[in-house]
């Protein structure tokens, strides 16, 4: 037998090219087809194996379709199975031939052996040929009612297959309702689990067009259904348990006692050897306790040990998937894990992707009591043979230093790095020392002494070079050689390939000039000349700008280029808390491994069977920050997809086309009075927001005072409340803030809903208004705008 060697993309001379062999097979199959000789099945098996092996390798054996079907009139189950496999593979591309198989498959569906019934039904549904669906309905209907559980499990999946071939046929035959009945009544757990999978897929995809499907989908999360599954959970296979747990994770209990009942019931699932079961259980625990801070923290304590055990057992791949989740939890609540830091030490033989996660965790859990040990450990990695990891380790030391624990000792360590005389170590350490000085200027004396000893010639990496140059400019007063080092760097301007370095050089030489004019004047002149001639636009512009600034007034130039600086207190975080919350909500999914919410890497239809909360899934009061910002992020998506016109307006404005972005004052709006004690519960808000159309969408300018006052979302909330406009959710970080407000008319219960996005760097506010009474939205907008414009006034 020819082994299924090599792959289709690199046919080697020894590999069957296909054609000759296929026609050989064809004639051999023909010979066997009619024969009833004893032992014929064995010869058929050998031939079938050959065919399947060609198929695996990618040789097209579809021309054998007719012969294969002819040969499969047999009672030998092994032969049958091979034939089914073959037919399933090629039916789609040969719909006409597929018709040939219908007969014998339908006959097999009525076989007395349940195994054959099941297999035939599975193959029948796997043909994936649209014009054959009419033949599926009958066998599927009887399959669902078969007295054998194997046949029923197959039939349930068959219904789902049918749905994907022809949704209308499936729905018209009333299969979803039958599945629902089986789901709630079948005695076999696998049948029940398959029903759940199938119904989730079917109803999720129907929900957009059918009210009923949408209701059914939500009914899956109702208390009776969830409890039905919970009570049977131990009957299910470990994989089906994951399915059930995922469902339970979406369930919102109405009472606190329910939460504890569910957690007690699932407690022993945390001891399961299958990591998927444990993670799914953890997700349930985390979701259920979100609004109960104390219990939520206890959950973290409880799941620590099982997670650590899973990380250290199993294959490296399994352990990585769990470690990614542990990483997420550590980043969310580092203090809970601060005594477990030793678990995050890297082992020399771990792959880089594991080490990277561990380094981040070590950085996060560092506190007063463990910093010394963690930094000592990290310093060991700096000499690691794995250079990228060595770099990450040094960066981790720097990050810990910026977290302010025991800075004294860390600065010493960093300075030792500078003396290690390894290029990449020096480079990373320089960048860190620079950041450190921006936060702790008091360390400048110690650092400068060491940095001064580093020859700029040994630094090649742009980031490190830029850092060194920055320090030369900033501390030129204290660094004796600063003007001369800068001068020599400027002499080699032409050889400096990095624009970033040249930009820094310009600024540094300016700063140096203000402090030590006589020594630097010549270098400054050379730098400006070189900068003006530079082909890089930014470098050129900066040189020109400095030049004109100096021409205008040197002391003004100093105020602009080298003002007294405030120490940086917090460096900007790379990922917004909104995104982090979103990832947390998608716990136990790929989002955690990729560290991205699902909408960033997958299209909507593939976000998973449980993506119920696409719009305003869960919403809670503004005070509860995680839930509210989740709502924000979800809204953000719908607004991006739904209202492209809004963004194009903003772009027009950016281009300075002078479009009237602020609305002309409405002629004479009827006086609008708002209810200062308006109340609206989040559920209603959510519902209204979904139902109402946008009645007004505008952009306002925010006054500079307003921008200055908007240091945190809370500031604006209080202000708007004074104008009877209430906030229901808010979030974001400078420069982007997002708010949801509501207001009610004083006399009647007519509500206005507002989405307001403020960008402080462009000083613009984009608002969308939805209103019960659309005719009043103009008036409300005016009111809103005037309230906003008063923000920041003393």
């Amino acid at each position: 037998m020819a082994p299924p060697a090599q792959s289709q993309r690199s046919p080697s001379p020894s590999q069957p090219s296909g054609k000759g062999e296929v026609s050989d097979l064809k004639s051999q199959l023909r010979q066997l087809a009619g024969s009833r000789a004893p032992g014929i099945d064995d010869s058929k098996r050998e031939l079938f194996k050959k065919v399947i092996s060609y198929m695996t390798v990618g040789i097209d054996v579809s021309s054998l379709f007719g012969e294969m079907v002819m040969c499969s009139a047999t009672s030998d189950i092994v032969l049958k199975k091979m034939c089914y496999l073959y037919v399933g593979n090629y039916a789609k591309v040969n719909p006409d031939l597929a018709l040939l198989t219908i007969n014998f498959l339908q006959r097999d569906c009525k076989d007395e052996d349940p195994m054959i019934r099941g297999l035939a039904l599975r193959s029948l549904c796997s043909l994936r040929v649209a014009n054959l669906v009419e033949y599926l309905v009958g066998p599927l209907g009887s399959g669902l009612k078969d007295n054998n559980n194997y046949v029923r499990t197959v039939a349930v999946m068959g219904v789902l297959k049918l749905y994907h071939i022809s949704a209308s046929t499936c729905v018209d035959a009333d299969f979803p309702a039958m599945l629902k009945h089986s789901m709630l009544n079948d005695s076999d757990a696998q049948v029940v689990a398959n029903c759940l999978s199938a119904l989730q897929e079917i109803w999720s995809s129907e929900a957009s067009s059918s009210e009923e499907a949408s209701r059914e989908r939500e009914a899956l999360l109702s208390k009776p259904v969830v409890y039905y599954f919970l009570n049977r959970i131990k009957e299910f296979s470990e994989w089906a348990q994951c399915l059930v747990l995922e469902l339970v994770g979406k369930y919102v209990p109405s009472e606190t006692s329910e939460i504890f009942d569910i957690m007690n019931l699932l407690e022993d699932r945390l001891q399961h050897a299958n990591g998927a079961v444990v993670l799914a259980t953890i997700k349930v625990f985390l979701q259920l306790t979100l609004s109960m801070t104390d219990v939520h923290q206890q959950v973290y304590e409880r799941i620590k040990a099982p997670l650590l055990t899973l990380v250290s057992s199993g294959s490296p791949e399994q352990s990585y998937a769990v470690l990614s989740h542990l990483h997420l939890l550590v980043m969310r609540a580092p203090f809970i894990f601060s005594s477990d830091y030793k678990h995050f030490y890297c082992q020399y033989n771990e792959p880089s992707y594991v080490k990277k996660l561990k380094l981040e965790m070590l950085t996060a859990v560092a506190n007063e009591s463990n910093t010394y040990e963690i930094v000592t450990e990290l310093c060991e990695y700096a000499a690691n043979v794995d250079i990228p990891i060595a770099r990450e380790s040094i960066r981790a030391v720097g990050k810990i230093a910026l977290q302010q624990y025991d800075v004294n000792a860390i600065v010493d360590r960093l300075l030792q790095f500078l003396e290690m005389e390894k290029d990449y170590v020096t480079a990373e350490a320089l960048v860190l020392v620079k950041d450190l000085l921006r936060k702790y200027p008091q360390w400048s004396q110690d650092c400068i002494a060491v940095v001064g000893n580093i020859s700029s010639k040994n630094i090649q990496e742009p980031k490190a070079k830029a850092a060194l140059i920055w320090m030369l400019g900033e501390y030129s007063q204290d660094m004796h050689d600063a003007p001369y080092i800068l001068e020599s760097l400027i002499e080699n301007w032409e050889d400096e390939h990095s624009a970033e370095v040249r930009l820094h050089l310009l600024t540094a030489v300016m700063k140096c000039f203000f402090k030590r004019p006589p020594e630097t004047q010549k270098a400054l002149g050379a730098a400006l000349a070189a900068g003006l001639a530079d082909f890089h636009q930014d470098v050129h512009d900066r040189a020109l700008f400095y030049y004109r600034l100096l021409q205008y007034n040197v002391s003004v130039a100093q105020r602009v280029v080298d003002p007294p600086k405030q120490a940086v207190s917090v460096f900007a975080d790379t990922q917004s808390s909104e995104i982090k919350d979103r990832i947390f909500d998608e716990f136990n999914s790929l989002s955690v491994v990729y560290q991205k919410p699902s909408y960033m890497f997958t299209d909507k239809e593939h976000r998973g069977p449980f993506e119920f909360s696409d719009e305003l899934g869960h919403l809670s009061i503004g005070a509860e920050s995680t839930a509210s910002s989740q709502m924000l992020s979800e809204l953000a998506i719908s607004s991006v997809t739904g209202h492209a016109s809004q963004s194009s307006l903003a772009i027009d404005d950016l281009l300075g086309l002078g479009l009237p972005v602020a609305p002309a004052p409405a002629p004479s709006p009827p006086l609008l009075k708002l209810n200062s004690k308006a109340v609206l519960d989040p559920g209603t808000f959510q519902q209204k927001w979904r139902q109402l159309p946008i009645s007004l969408s505008q952009e306002y300018s925010v006054s500079p005072r307003g921008v200055a006052a908007l240091t945190a979302p809370q500031a604006l909330l209080r202000h708007m409340q004074g104008h009877s406009i209430h906030c229901i959710a808010s979030g974001g970080q400078s420069p982007n803030y997002k708010f949801f407000f509501f207001a009610q008319k004083a006399e009647e219960s007519s509500t206005f809903l507002v989405e307001c996005i403020i960008n402080t760097s462009s000083a613009k506010a984009q608002i969308k208004i939805k209103a019960d009474d659309q005719s009043a939205s103009e008036a409300f907008s005016t009111l809103f705008q005037s309230a906003l414009s008063e923000f920041g006034l003393p």
Binding site: P4, G58, E238, T309, Q318, A383, V385
Partner: protein, 451 residues
């Protein structure tokens, strides 16, 4: 829900390819393999087990040099898919006896048959070897085990001693033996992986034991089994049993930090009698995983000394001492030590009378490699290496070399002292006395001494 499953050889050939949902393009195996092979241009970093290319998520696990891969477009639980891939590999191994490229190629029809029952339309159906038996009809074509180096955890017992019937664990759960009936036997393996980091002064910085109890049953009629562990076993950091007054007197109870169990394990009498009861399903499976950070005696002590001998020369002396009983022998020991980048040559000197040892200086990654066939408990071995440098070391040698790491296997030894006290098979017949094999082995996971 997964879309495709396939197995690729080390060279990237398709051995098995099954498309369950037709949602991912056919060329996915090729896209996947190229991505894994060229993850980073420098080839330094290996591809993570999960990644996304153009909206398709690829999951893979490496098993005996083969790549088991699944694809999907859906945002699924990564743990679920990776556990599943690992499980599929297990099931196939249970059926084929030996899992490798050759056996897969010979049995691919059987493998397809298994795959059809394991997954339907992307959803997991049956993964228990036992239950699959009623749906799978192809007979495995068993490849000659003697000729092949066996893989997987079972192989570690083979070098260990003659006591173990080496081929037993490589036999298929379905294949009948030449004699007709299958031999009634059950294997319980306690496998521990230890991780230790010693500081330069020999003090233990971190230590951990990751253990697992594996079972492989060839018993007919699925009798219930009771596995009794140490009486003084405790679980949890504060799991020191309150009634256990011995633990304070120094004899030392075995305290596990945490553990988890196979689905089939019942823990009714675990708290009181430290006994696990289960009806073992066919095939190999993990009864229990456990983790222990309690202090334990490390099996080896490593001593490294570096002496400069002039500007361009230095001598490295590595001493390894086995601190376990002389009745036990460790095997396949390898000691590795990265040397400074500017090392150009190394010459070695062993103690007189040393046998079964190999020394090498790997020029490419500047690493010293010292291999020892076996080390008897209580003995000590020394290696001297004279290094020549291509540039002056500036007294930085210790900073630029090390840490020394070690790999080894010690059969019939376990560092945690966790024990299977007895293995009771509940079957009435008086003549029924199946073979019971309880085996221990300890391996190094990350055994590192800083210098």
């Amino acid at each position: 829900m997964i879309s495709q499953f396939f197995v690729l050889s080390q060279r990237g050939d398709n051995i098995v390819f099954r498309d369950y949902r037709g949602e991912v393009q056919k060329g996915s195996a090729e896209i996947f393999f190229r991505k894994v092979k060229f993850w980073k241009e420098d080839g330094q970093e290996e591809a993570p087990p999960v990644f996304n290319v153009d909206g398709v998520n690829y999951f893979h696990v490496k098993v005996v040099g083969l790549l088991f891969v699944a694809t999907t477009r859906v945002n699924v639980s990564p743990s679920l898919v990776l556990e599943l891939l690992q499980r599929i590999a297990h099931v196939i191994k249970d059926y084929l006896g030996i899992l490798n490229e050759d056996s897969l190629r010979k049995n691919f029809v059987l493998v397809y048959e298994l795959l059809d029952e394991v997954i339907d339309f992307g959803y997991v159906q049956i993964t228990s070897t036992e239950m699959l038996k009623s749906y799978v009809f192809n007979e495995p074509i068993v490849i000659d085990a003697a000729r092949l180096q066996s893989l997987g955890p079972a192989s570690i017992f083979m070098q260990g001693g003659k006591r173990m019937p080496g081929t037993a664990v490589t036999k298929s759960v379905v294949a009948t033996e030449p004699g007709g009936r299958m031999r009634e036997e059950i294997f319980v393996d306690i496998i521990e992986k230890i991780s230790i980091t010693f500081s330069s002064s020999g003090y233990i910085l971190t230590s951990e034991i990751d253990g697992t109890i594996q079972m492989k049953s060839y018993l007919s009629g699925n009798p219930e089994i009771r596995v009794a562990l140490n009486d003084d076993l405790g679980i949890g950091k504060d799991g020191r049993p309150t009634y256990d007054y011995r633990s304070s007197s120094g004899s030392g109870a075995v305290i596990l930090d945490d553990c988890n169990f196979h689905e089939s394990v019942r823990l009714d009498s675990f708290d009181s009698e430290k006994t696990l009861s289960l009806v073992p399903p066919d095939g190999e499976f993990t009864v229990m995983n456990y983790r222990m950070t309690q202090e334990f005696k490390p099996p080896f002590r490593i001593n490294t000394l570096i002496e400069e001998a002039g500007a361009l020369k230095a001598e490295v002396i590595i001493k390894v001492r086995a601190e376990f009983s002389s009745s036990i022998t460790a095997n396949t020991i390898m000691v590795l030590m990265p040397l400074p980048k500017y090392t150009s040559r190394a010459s070695f000197e062993l103690e007189p009378g040393a046998v079964g040892q190999t020394m090498d200086f790997k020029e490419a990654n500047k690493r010293l490699e010292w291999g020892l066939k076996k080390i008897v408990g209580g003995s000590e071995h020394t290696l001297r290496a004279k290094l020549t440098f291509s540039q002056e070391s500036h007294g930085n040698i210790t900073k630029e070399s090390g840490p020394v790491s070690m790999t080894f296997t010690i059969p019939m030894y376990n560092a945690s002292r966790l024990q299977v006290k007895y293995l009771q098979i509940a079957k009435k017949s008086g003549t029924y006395n199946p073979y019971r094999w309880v085996r221990y082995v300890t391996q190094a996971n990350s055994y590192v001494a800083r210098i």
